[in-house]
Symmetry: C2
């Protein structure tokens, strides 16, 4: 293991009806609250009304910012910052999935930052303060509800950046599985892929002596696959929504990375490049790219892919080379994702190799891609080509 600090300040309220905690989490009456949401599905499924109802109990002055995009945009972040300053907002409340939460994280840190908020997102600025915020989660996927990570896209530059700061942990998050009942099948699938991808990224670490964390990751993957298979056929099943929702948070709140180097995250970086150029769903992109990353990297070092194959996909290693076992595991992962309806080729989104150079370039927003295998541009090109 590697030395680490384990400390997550977010208060996670999990379970049906936990929206009732909102009033006390506001920390007083008469607050100016900006609720931030996406395309308006929360107005159809009752979540908006449930939130407003609790805010009114606390005599909050409610302001709204709606229309946050699936890949949230810098322009929306800036609009939110202006609104917070103008209306003297006390607390931001993200009501939605990871996109909305990521947008709120950027707004929260931008409010007190004097320069351009993109400096913070591109890791140049050094903010020292953020506006407090909470979340009401409506989509199990990114884990953003209990971590300090955010991904924002600048469409003028076609740049999609992941960033983080100790200042942007949610103060509280409310997770009611019934709030995810109306998530359609395709979004549910993308969520499952995203959750599993977070677990997998963390599995592909290079730290020795992490037996318990490795088993925790395997446990989470097995659980999500077991529940996911049924969930996509039964979208209103409380128990399955509950299982996937809690796994989604656990997959990316450091439970799976305490004491490791944090994992690889190369597949995420390449996917961010693809969705910065083509605006495809993050989970869809991962379902295509991750198995190709695994396959490519297993040809260099199959050890972790083999371990995954045996422990998660129950592939017998007998009479097989490490690489053969690894490849069978990768095929099983691909097969599971296909079985629930995830895409397997970039062509499924109409993407061909016409912008290949641009995709490779954009994958290198940070100096290096990946840690399990540090990828160079030729490696990334090959992974993208295999994914076309």
């Amino acid at each position: 293991m590697i030395s680490f600090l384990q400390h997550n300040p977010t208060k996670l309220w999990f379970g049906e009806g936990q929206i009732r905690q909102l009033k006390s989490e506001l920390g007083g009456t008469g607050k100016n609250v900006l609720i931030v949401y996406g395309g308006g599905s929360i107005k159809k499924n009752g979540v908006y009304d449930a939130v407003l109802n609790e805010l009114h109990k606390a005599d909050a002055h409610v302001f709204e910012l709606s229309g946050v995009e699936p890949n949230p945009r810098l322009t929306t972040v800036k609009a939110g910052i202006e609104l917070c300053r103008k209306e003297e907002i006390d607390l931001l409340l993200a009501v939605g999935g990871g996109s909305v939460i990521d947008c709120v994280k950027a707004i929260s840190i931008g409010v007190y930052y004097e320069g351009d908020v993109w400096d913070v997102i591109s890791r140049k600025g050094a903010p020292d303060r953020a506006l407090p915020f909470g979340t009401v989660l409506t989509l199990a996927a990114t884990g953003s509800e209990m971590n300090n990570i955010s991904v924002i896209t600048d469409w003028e530059k076609n740049e999609k950046r992941g960033w983080g700061s100790p200042l942007v942990f949610p103060q509280f998050s409310i997770l009611d599985p019934t709030f995810t009942f109306s998530v359609p099948r395709d979004q549910t699938v993308y969520g499952i892929v995203d959750i599993m991808s977070h677990a997998l990224e963390q599995y592909f670490h290079r730290t020795e002596n992490t037996p318990m964390i490795d088993r925790f990751i395997e446990s989470l993957l097995i659980t999500v696959m077991e529940a996911g298979t049924e969930l996509v056929q039964d979208l209103h099943n409380f128990k399955l929504r509950e299982t996937v929702m809690y796994a989604g948070t656990t997959a990316f709140n450091e439970t799976l990375s305490n004491g490791t180097d944090g994992g690889d995250w190369g597949s995420h970086q390449i996917e961010h490049a693809v969705s910065a150029v083509y605006d495809i769903p993050h989970g869809g992109g991962l379902a295509i790219l991750f198995p190709n990353w695994m396959s490519y990297c297993s040809e260099i070092d199959p050890s972790r892919m083999k371990k995954l194959a045996v422990n998660v996909f129950k592939i017998s290693p007998e009479g097989k080379s490490e690489l053969e076992t690894a490849k069978e595991g990768i095929a099983a992962l691909r097969s599971f994702w296909n079985s629930i309806g995830a895409p397997s080729r970039l062509a499924d989104y109409g993407i061909d190799d016409s912008k290949l150079d641009q995709l490779v370039e954009k994958s290198f927003m940070k100096d290096e891609v990946g840690t399990y295998k540090v990828l160079n541009k030729q490696d990334v090109r090959e992974i993208l080509l295999r994914s076309m």
Copy 2:
């Protein structure tokens, strides 16, 4: 799952050399710090010097309370409270294992409590404030370093009580595996039994739909057994100490109980009665009592014991009744504990049935014993008799 709040405020600094965090955790120079420790082993193994060295860097005024007992006593708690009041202590620092930490928790809450601190421990008082404290862990066992639970014994009354309060989470805990190198073999074994018992208590819950948490518990048990087998033969092995130390904290910081009813804890309650009367090591008592609790309760409902047998002890359930499989798993647990040197009968501590009535009575300090099976006095008597 059951609705829950996931929020642990303790900052856990894990890894070799993390004692260097102590200075910044003090939150300023010139503080009055009371270090609390046990029989003085920390003066032989270098931990005391390492702690003092860091405290001096922060210009702390250091006071000491030593001699905390393995089953920490109310009299020691009261002495600590007096000392804190007299010397106007700013921060308590537990340097030791669970006993020392539990003692410090009681001191921290007693300092500002106007009545008798035993009121708080026996859950009659309602404290509203506690003196901040940190811990430097020297024994992997109780998990007290990252939870808000404490166990204190009043020897005048022969009463051993577990209690908890949201006010007694450590502010920080420093876990350096090298600080546990000098723990002797028997204490190491008791620690392993204690850690596994915490995981097992939480496994014997009655909540439906907890697949991931159940797998996390199984993962932790398998990991501790794997490392424990080697560790008792190789006490200075860093990787094994590291694995067991991190498992010890994870076993009892709510990672294994989020969304469940919390588990049974009947074996712990019975063990507290036995060690309140006979002052035997907690881990030793658990190694004797827990398999007998499991065996007795499996005769009423073997479902969880069978699941444990199959998933952790890899017992094949084929051609066997649920109870038969369960019993094979229990035998495997007993056999593992015996293999590392844990006792299997109360007679090993010279305990016979002469105080049986008293042991039964003292097991019912709280109204009920256990939740997986709510035990009555006849049940507890039977479990104790099987353990003689």
